[in-house]
Subunit: 450 residues, 2 copies
């Protein structure tokens, strides 16, 4: 079934597009999963993709467009008129429709909404557009099945039948009271196994986990992960049922968050995508490089105070990279472990002390191993005893200090609700470079002036 994304197929497809060979295109894509067709479109340019999209059945085109990732989608939709887009919108879920329109210029967005035939769809989208993209309201879809608690199973099945076309995937039916307040849920399994005139009130589960519309999307992801949910209902502060979030949207949130954290750790100040332009990429990378540069220049000024020492013992300069690199490596290791444990487990105040003790012990072991090995190496390769001592004492101190800094910085950032991933990046590296230099020259000055 899966469309094979081969160079041969792509070449044939491009020729077909050029020759306007509709038959080949329609045939080769017939019955293929929209996600597979998307992969093909990623290899074509906008005009080619638009030509292909126009040949596909509307529900497939709509699905493909809504599955494109943010940036590609925005660029691609420029090729559509508002009327074209308005025709596709009713084929996608309301959450995807809102995400899609959110990316458009206001005027274009209003035009599209005005042109949507189905009033209910339009209203749903208008409602969803009010929510911030990064909160539960921004993730939820309006499509769901709800049943009044006073209904019977037969009435509930009637409602499922009525909504069957709009709600593609049904995991469970939400149970509400006359004011639409969420009371619980009934699984489809229970509905199938119940007798026709059983009352919903007698079979529903009332301990349902719901999320308020204003909650952060990361919080939603954590909840769904913690409780192994494939869908979670969204309510307002009065407990009224507003929509539902499905796990596929949350998986995207989790993946994006992991990527953002990685980028932050690597010193990219804005989310960078592979297909960003040269200037955008350069701009995303520059801020942290400038901070690193500032740190480097500060380090140079600082080292300048020790010009006389270096002139006297030029060999001291040789070990500068060893000192700064070790500090950086240790700092990044420590902060990564701490950052991950901050996102994984909730820990109460008292473990802070234990954590520091453990970090110190680990650092002591590694500091001892490394400084001993370096000392032996230096002595064996004929360095002066005093220099070997300076290097190893400095290394030892740098490992301990960098461990502490790598551990404490993310914890502090986290307390102030700043993303601790920031700490694992160039910030730690730059700070550790300065720290390393200070310790190194400090120790040297002290030992040589004994």
């Amino acid at each position: 079934m899966q469309l094979e994304l081969s160079k041969e197929y792509l070449e044939r497809l491009e020729t077909a597009i050029e020759k306007r060979d509709e038959a080949f295109i329609r045939e080769s894509m017939d019955g293929e999963h929209p996600a597979d067709i998307s992969s093909v479109l990623y290899e074509l340019d906008t005009a080619q993709s638009k030509y292909v999209i126009d040949l596909l059945p509307r529900e497939v085109s709509a699905e493909i467009i809504s599955s494109l990732d943010g940036d590609t989608q925005r660029k691609f939709l420029k090729a559509f008129t508002s009327a074209e887009l308005a025709e596709l919108i009713p084929y996608v879920d309301s959450d995807d429709a809102a995400d899609l329109l959110n990316q458009q210029p206001v005027k274009f967005r209003e035009e599209v909404i005005a042109l949507i035939n189905d009033a209910e769809t339009a209203n749903h989208i208008i409602e969803l557009l009010h929510y911030d993209e990064d909160c539960a309201g921004g993730l939820m879809a309006k499509e769901l099945i709800k049943a009044n608690i006073n209904w019977t199973v037969v009435q509930c099945i009637e409602e499922i039948r009525r909504q069957a076309e709009d709600v593609e995937k049904i995991f469970s039916v939400y149970v509400v009271d006359d004011e639409d307040k969420l009371l619980g849920r009934v699984s489809l399994k229970k509905i199938i196994l119940a007798r026709a005139y059983t009352r919903i009130a007698d079979i529903y589960e009332d301990d349902i986990i719901a999320v308020e519309s204003y909650r952060d999307s990361e919080e939603v992801a954590e909840m769904m992960q913690k409780y192994d949910l494939e869908t979670i209902p969204v309510v307002n502060i009065q407990g009224k049922l507003l929509g539902r979030i499905t796990i596929d949207d949350v998986v995207d949130v989790i993946t994006e968050q992991a990527e953002l954290d990685q980028q932050m750790m690597s010193g990219l100040s804005q989310p960078e995508e592979e297909d960003d332009g040269v200037l955008t990429s350069a701009k995303a990378r520059l801020p942290w490089l400038l901070i690193g540069m500032g740190g480097g220049l500060l380090g140079a000024r600082f080292a300048g105070f020790f010009e006389a020492d270096i002139k006297l013992i030029p060999a001291m300069a040789f070990f500068i990279p060893l000192i700064t690199a070790t500090g950086g490596n240790v700092g990044i290791q420590s902060s990564t472990v701490v950052v991950q444990s901050l996102t994984n487990a909730s820990f109460l105040g008292n473990s802070f002390y234990n954590r520091i003790v453990k970090v110190l012990l680990v650092a002591l072991i590694n500091a001892a191993v490394i400084s001993t090995l370096v000392f032996l190496f230096n002595i064996l390769t004929g360095s002066a005893l005093q220099l070997a001592l300076v290097v190893s004492i400095a290394l030892f101190s740098v490992v301990i200090l960098a461990s502490l800094m790598g551990t404490i910085t993310p914890i502090i950032l986290n307390r102030f609700e700043i993303n601790p991933a920031l700490a694992s990046g160039p910030f730690i590296t730059t700070a550790n470079d300065l720290l390393g230099l200070a310790v190194y020259f400090g120790v040297a000055h002290w030992l040589y002036n004994l």
Copy 2:
């Protein structure tokens, strides 16, 4: 409903455990979600947790134990006898049971399996234990509903009723032929809406996406993400239905993979958990620190060749950290972007060239900005023109070279099917330090000997 994890509650609970106050413990945990009780147990020690677990209903205890993460679970289960564990096993899904037993010593595992009352459960687990944990077979559960294609809807509902207790969450019914070969699926929605004597053959969807049992778990995660699946059936090479994988297990795979990649980028050679012992942590961190150390010592030897230069112009030494840090920062930025694009999109060979051109352009801009700023700074702060030139030319070259290396290394690693995240870590940092030193001293030697 949610158990509040407050210091006060924990203190009361610990007192209750000490006083063997069963009533308080049972009451305060009654009706709570197992995941919430787990969070509480994470704050207790093993003996305390064991005491609490023994007081809870078996299905709750079983759920809690299976939800613990790998390391904690292994440690905690040491407090259980094989008979105790065998009693809990039938309450968890077969995939969780297999994961749990996989962590145990062989003898203990065999004892537990021999003590399981239900022969079907035991057989399922034995079958699942054969699969590697990191493949589709290792992720799948045996609990699923399957219907023969020749059945009617009524027969199918009978099967659901029969299995209702074992299969907690039903998303759809898998359709098989007489040889158990997977033919397709029917959603519960369709079953609800169909007439009783409709044949399954008339309502099932035959374009089902399945996965072979030997597929890598990352591949499973990618497929489920790509096609927005909440469950995927697992088949053997003959297409026989073996089990199903649910999205909650895949979400765990995605999260773990992101953490592992982050750790690898930070130079942790083994997965490190917050609760690892001191020695384990030290060991996980040491290998990369030693590589960094080796790089540093090599750098020192290399710099040694230029002892005369440094003696003559000690100020040269001041800028070593600036050069190496900038190289490291640029290298990590580039490799992170490449690593993420490698995992996200499939790209064909021809874009390699475009990628390099773009990387070069971005690098040129940033190299120009940074080297100009540093040049101005050096001139304004009274450095010699020649030194300022050396530093800026070296910086410029290092930014370009580190960009190229950060881009090419992960692509090459990926070609050889080595995890490209490795490249973003200390490997790049160490290699860039050496590269930076070589360029710096090279440029200096060349410029001063003009």
